[in-house]
Symmetry: C2
Subunit: 384 residues, 2 copies
Amino acid sequence: MRAVGLIAEYNPFHNGHLHHLQAAKRLSRADAVVVVMSGNFTQRGEPAVIDKWTRTRMALLNGADLVVELPLVFVVQPADRFANGALTILHDLQISDLVFGAEHPEWDFAALVAAEKQFQQAAFQNYDQTYATQFNQQLEAVTGHSLRDPNDILAFTYYKKVIHEKWPLHLHAIQRRGSDYHDLHINGHIASASAIREALVKGNDALVKQAVPATTWSLLKDLQQVPAMDQLFMILRNHLIQAPASQLAKTYSMAEGLENRLKQAASRSLDFKSLMHQAKTKRYTYAHLLRLFLYLCLEATQDQVDWTIKHPYIRLLGFNQRGQAYLHQVKKDLSLPLITKVDQTLHNGLLDLDYRAGKLYQNFTNDEQDLKRAPIMELSSKDR
Amino acid sequence: MRAVGLIAEYNPFHNGHLHHLQAAKRLSRADAVVVVMSGNFTQRGEPAVIDKWTRTRMALLNGADLVVELPLVFVVQPADRFANGALTILHDLQISDLVFGAEHPEWDFAALVAAEKQFQQAAFQNYDQTYATQFNQQLEAVTGHSLRDPNDILAFTYYKKVIHEKWPLHLHAIQRRGSDYHDLHINGHIASASAIREALVKGNDALVKQAVPATTWSLLKDLQQVPAMDQLFMILRNHLIQAPASQLAKTYSMAEGLENRLKQAASRSLDFKSLMHQAKTKRYTYAHLLRLFLYLCLEATQDQVDWTIKHPYIRLLGFNQRGQAYLHQVKKDLSLPLITKVDQTLHNGLLDLDYRAGKLYQNFTNDEQDLKRAPIMELSSKDR
């Protein structure tokens, strides 16, 4: 059996994801679809609209054969680190192909990666400009292209990693369909996940319903409240106020001195919006702060996260018969630990941060997220 | 001018407090009444029903002339430490008399204190019994009395401290009036503070109204929600789950190994009641845990609290003209720092924990509790 890999958040699984999944099967002609998916928190550092088990079910009901969880320390990261973490896990699962969306799938990404060798390091000494800006100036000078769109950046990251590691992996960039990620309006049957989340928050059921498969809708329709970071504000504010600055400084991804700014902002804020407003600067962007806020809620230190990044694992969330057969085939050659069930030892060790994230997510849903949860077996997978 | 001192929580100020205050004036014939009062959290480790400023106003409107705050580190303690802390502050304010309730005001408390010298230390080696039990066995053997009632225990504590320090302070034990502290029913015009709080929670306005002075009622009647520890559950549970056991172990008053028990209880609890139920044992009582839970919410370490206990201060909450005159008279001889307004330096130093407690209390009320708050000047104090 051969497998094609997908990297996803499925927050929630929508028609665009379905198209992507079907294109992946078509392009790769693989026997099985392996998905590595964010858990209960997403790349932006926010809680997913619905928990990882339900999102796994959505994926299995729509063509995925095997779903594994991307550990939180790879998820809650800038996109390139997210991509590298996910790729590492998929590679260990011995996928033969990776299919991903890009704004410019026609570009020769391998050539863009090669162009980096011609960059002049001296040109990176301009501290008035971000690294990304200077990188793009160089890239444009050499190739005529520049990486400005989020999925193009990810595509570049995949190519770079695969070329660097010399992995025998076929990369397929496909056109990203439908609305732009930032488009908050739903037009027709394709809408961005963020547009769907926005509609969920507003209770626009009709809009959600037409943008997601029926199976997704049946799992979403009873959602009482859409989880959001501002519901954790009490926890976040209190930790910023009560913990000494010296301890806050040890939080993962805390920039030097930022702890004092956040401490003051927390003292003066009575809601999430105000805290964010007071903390944000050109240097500390919304995206960076949002991820940092999650690490603060988790009281996660630089040391803990660094250690966890160095100890990846494959956490099984769900599979159907085809996925089970594929897993059986590759199991013996895995170099990473395969985790199917979380016990006391695991949640105090390897899975500590994911376990704690699950406990944090329990503020939105009462369901235990890890202990005693068995992977979902979707035995009624539809025939292809 | 001479002043009589009172130690109180006024949570809230009720008719029993009014009687006590009037008896204090009568007995001591003092010119001014000085009250040292808990701040926003009480001896039990719970949030007060209404903030310290409103409770100060209640006291000033009912005969108190000067109100100072007992720092949190003295408040959230077993009763004897609370009493000692309060007495230290009142003594520095040069009160000539202290009036307090006792279940047995007719006892010769000075004699009970003296009896301690005849105790046999060897008898305290029985580890099957609590210190309090063994103490009472000894006391009964020597004097025929034993300290079983909470206010008798406090009375003993006052005498012991005053005798030990040789302070020239007149102590007056008076009969505690009306309902027992634990009595949750309101009969007539005297009711315990806990009975009144219970009535407040249940919205039994008529019962509250008849048990408190009209001025208290006018300040209580618009209370939207009675603050309670279970409203801080999200904060408490998260810190217990996310902080490493080694860090939790440093929390003030954390018994050895209890951090692991609490960590496990927090992981398994989705509400305050369940957490308390799982944590409680014969050894870790409800009262002890409740105070510890507050210190956990404050992320207060043993070192921080110990330091603060060693650095007491007099925090002015309010006064009338008589109180102002009295303060003017004793001001130059104070040995403790007198704090009238909290600025940046203070809230990072001496007042750090009280400031943080005020920020925690903001979860119940949006009002800033310390920064830029001036003492209440009640210039319309009623004539006596």
